[in-house]
Amino acid sequence: MMLTQIILKMKHRITLFLLLGLYGFVFSQDQATYEAWQDSIKNPDYIMKNILYLDEMEVVENQYKSSNPLLTQVRKDKLMGTDELLHCLPGVNMMRRGNFASEPILRGLSSERYVVSIDGMRLFGACTDKMDPASSYIEPNNLANLDINLGNDDAMDGASTGGCVSFNLKTPKFNANKAVFVRIGMKYNSVSRGFDQLADLNINKKNLAVRSSFVHRKAQNYIAGGGSEIKYSQFEKYNYSFAMSYRLPQSQMLSFSFLGDDANDVGYPALPMDVSYAKAKMFSLSYYRMNLGKLKEVEIKAYHNIVDHAMDDTKRDAVDVPMHMDMPGNTHTSGLFAQTYLFDSLKTKIEYYNTFAHAEMTMYPDVGSPMFMLTYPDVVRNSTSISLDYNRAFLKQNLLKMGFRYEKAATYISSEFGEQQLNVFNMSGKKPKKMNLLNANISISRNIKKSFKLKLTTSYGQRLPTTSEQFGFYLYNRQNGYDYIGNPDIKKEGAWQNQLMAVWHKKKLRTNIAVFHYQFQDYIMGVLVPNYSNMTIGAKGVMFYENTKKASLMGGEWSLMGDITKTTHLMSTATYSYGYDFENDPLPLIPPLKITNSISQKWKGFIFQPELIWSNMQNNTSVKFDELNTDSFLLLNFRMHKTFKLNIGEMDVSTGVENILDKNYREHFDWGNIPRSGRNLFLNLSWRIK
């Protein structure tokens, strides 16, 4: 078998089935050429997944070019940031602290509760204030696709109580149409006078394939709706990657991949400090083999990544900085995993990783000695896990999926100084805190009629506490103004989840409704300790992470999409979550009802896309968290796109205006009451050189 096909197939498995529309629900894909094992996993298994297809998979792209202009739009916008990209997905919101490195929120759950994986690798941000979520070190330009699980119905990539965000990086291809191809692109955003550049180089030989990419982004302070400049919202970043694959006989392949990301001088208007640098380096080495006896698609990967991060308050006005501080942090993660399909339909993965987190803080008072503390006291975590995922078709159109994951993890602090700090609380972290995690899920998809499907998923998930929740030391949360202290004796958190999804598909219109209910046990949240005095100047008090008895989250997503006429495509989505804690008070940071409507109109090679976004106000706020109410807002965007075929290649041109009404607004979960961007005019050119 040609390896080209193999590689394509590997990716097909992920993308093909997931591709039809944002919900990735596949009805009529004729993939008859694939082997039986593929058939068994291809269908409604992925019903809950949101897949956004980002780049050319030639076979695939042609089929979908016409079916989903939004995807085409996104796909053509090579310089769309990861943040913007994620934001397009129903059920996903982006929590902002500035104009950079937003943190995805899945159905109202933030990064503590979902797993982030980059090609199966774990990467942990090094900032104690969550300035650097793992997604901030990825550029969409490097993504083959993005796979978001809302809910823990798939635990192959990690144990969670809230889902998984999997970034799948592009791999170099063998024997593509052209041996060498280059793409360059650039984008301008008026609101931040931001200028981005991109360049890709692909070399596709028979047995050797190389892909290299480079992205540079630089933005000034952005202007909020109404015209006020948001100070300290500038950033600059470089992202560069190099990947090389070499194929061996018998459908085997060796791959090396490197991805680097360097951000400098990043402003965080919502925080009292900025970031002087945030750097990530990721290395991985993989071995693939298509067939090995009963095993299919064997992949073994070893990886290592380093994140280095330093906060900076030297650019701020002196009046806003009560005391100068240095706050560097870093994480080192190494891992190893092997995965394969056993008996065609049983996906098996064995995984080990080790991660280390160090963060410190030195404060320099005007009078007196510097003060030093370890905010992440050299936390070491070792985790070993085995995951299984089984798919079986039965009674023609029905599909059964079962998943199981068992993980053993131990976490301890390796610094004597950190241990002494903990002794203050009569706690200790020197001895490994061991946890065994169990994740299990079962789902049944049933075709009631040809045009109507139902899928029911029940799952139970458990997650490890994060470094902050277990060993963080006086971490200031600017969102509510409290210092947070980790709890070394905290227990794992669990969640029962039920999801029901219904899909109607008639002619070219499709509507999906998903409703979900999560019941958390030992829900980890900060609980106020009244008699502790805060460390941070101006903080309101101290919160200590505890396992609260329970919490519930429910809600749903709805979407309608399809072609109204031959040239008009409609897409509407609505997302709603509602949650309450152990005292029946609302959970914090829950996004209110949000509705988006967009129409794509094709005309003489152009695509015009007006878009309307409405978000309800959020008054259901957490008193415990000291949360503010958020106003309703209405946004209007307009984008257009055209591809020009030139002698020297294809030129994609996108332009448009975002937030046309120049609305001054913030999303409910944004930090620090900082309004988002006002009216933005963008121009995006991407040129694929022949």
């Binding site: 092997a338 000695s369 503390m373 002794n423 203050v424």
Partner: protein, 266 residues
């Protein structure tokens, strides 16, 4: 497949155990230095302590030598009287145990609280009355007492009668560290120039305070009486820097005073 699982388990285990090595910090015994010597021709007295003598609570280790054959005298009963000689007067200072015999470590130990430094105001002498072999010999040893960089002794006039002078000595922490520290203070009052008794029956409140940031620390244990005018508790420091150990001292419900010790550590 089994083979692979096996291989991976082994590799994983190597990783796990490889990263679990723990390190133990060696316990350093505090070494004694000689701070003063003196003799009367027949016997010699050597005073040792962990540091120079300072204003505050000092633990003195005494060696007594028979000068005729340079042998150690281990069967003596020793009484000490520290004395500050000033221009117009002399006074002594608190001593926890005025009379002692050899302890199990082979030393004569005295806990002396010097209340002022040697200097222009006057000088310190310690008179040793060594009783052995049926007779009492007196040796006077001049000592130098310094004012330490960080105050280890605080004196104040009682809030109650506005006349009695109280002395609070900070014994522990000697070298404070981030985390939990033993806290021990001893309290004395000046009854007369020659009588500085320990004060018993007091109660304390404790609040460590980081002045440059205006915050405290949690889970402290206010000192409670352990006898002989000593009070023991725990003080917690959450970070390095300038800390105050703020004490409130009460007799029954009545405030006696609010001594504050400052400490800086890196």
């Amino acid at each position: 497949m089994k083979k692979y699982i096996h291989t991976f388990s082994v590799v994983a285990l190597i990783f796990i155990f490889g990263s679990c090595a723990e390190k133990n910090d060696p316990v350093v015994e505090e070494s004694l230095v000689e701070v003063a010597t003196g003799d009367n021709g027949e016997i010699g007295v050597t005073i040792q302590s962990t540091t120079e003598l300072f204003v505050g609570f000092n633990s003195l280790s005494i060696n007594v030598t028979n000068l005729t054959d340079n042998s150690s005298i281990n069967d003596a009963t020793i009484t000490i009287i520290p004395m500050m000689h000033m221009m117009t007067m002399s006074h002594t200072c608190p001593v926890d145990n005025k009379t002692t015999t050899l302890n199990e470590k082979g030393k004569y130990n005295f806990d002396v609280v010097f209340v002022m430094p040697s200097g222009d105001m006057g000088y310190w002498e310690i008179t040793f009355k060594v009783e052995y072999g049926g007779k009492i010999q007196e040796v006077v040893v001049p000592v130098n007492v310094i004012q330490p960089e960080e105050t280890k002794l605080i004196s104040f006039v009682s809030e109650q009668d506005q006349t009695t002078k109280y002395f609070v000595a900070l014994i522990d922490p000697k070298s404070p560290q981030v985390g939990e520290n033993d806290l021990e203070v001893s309290v004395y009052k000046k009854a007369s120039m020659m009588d500085w008794p320990a004060v018993e029956g007091l109660s304390f409140e404790l609040e460590p305070w980081m002045t440059s940031m205006d915050h405290g620390s949690p889970n402290n244990i206010a000192p409670v009486e352990i006898g002989n005018g000593h009070y023991k508790g725990k003080v917690n420091f959450t970070m390095t820097g300038d800390w105050e150990i703020r004490l409130t001292m009460k007799e029954g419900n009545n405030l006696v005073g609010s001594p504050v010790f400052t400490t800086v550590f890196q």
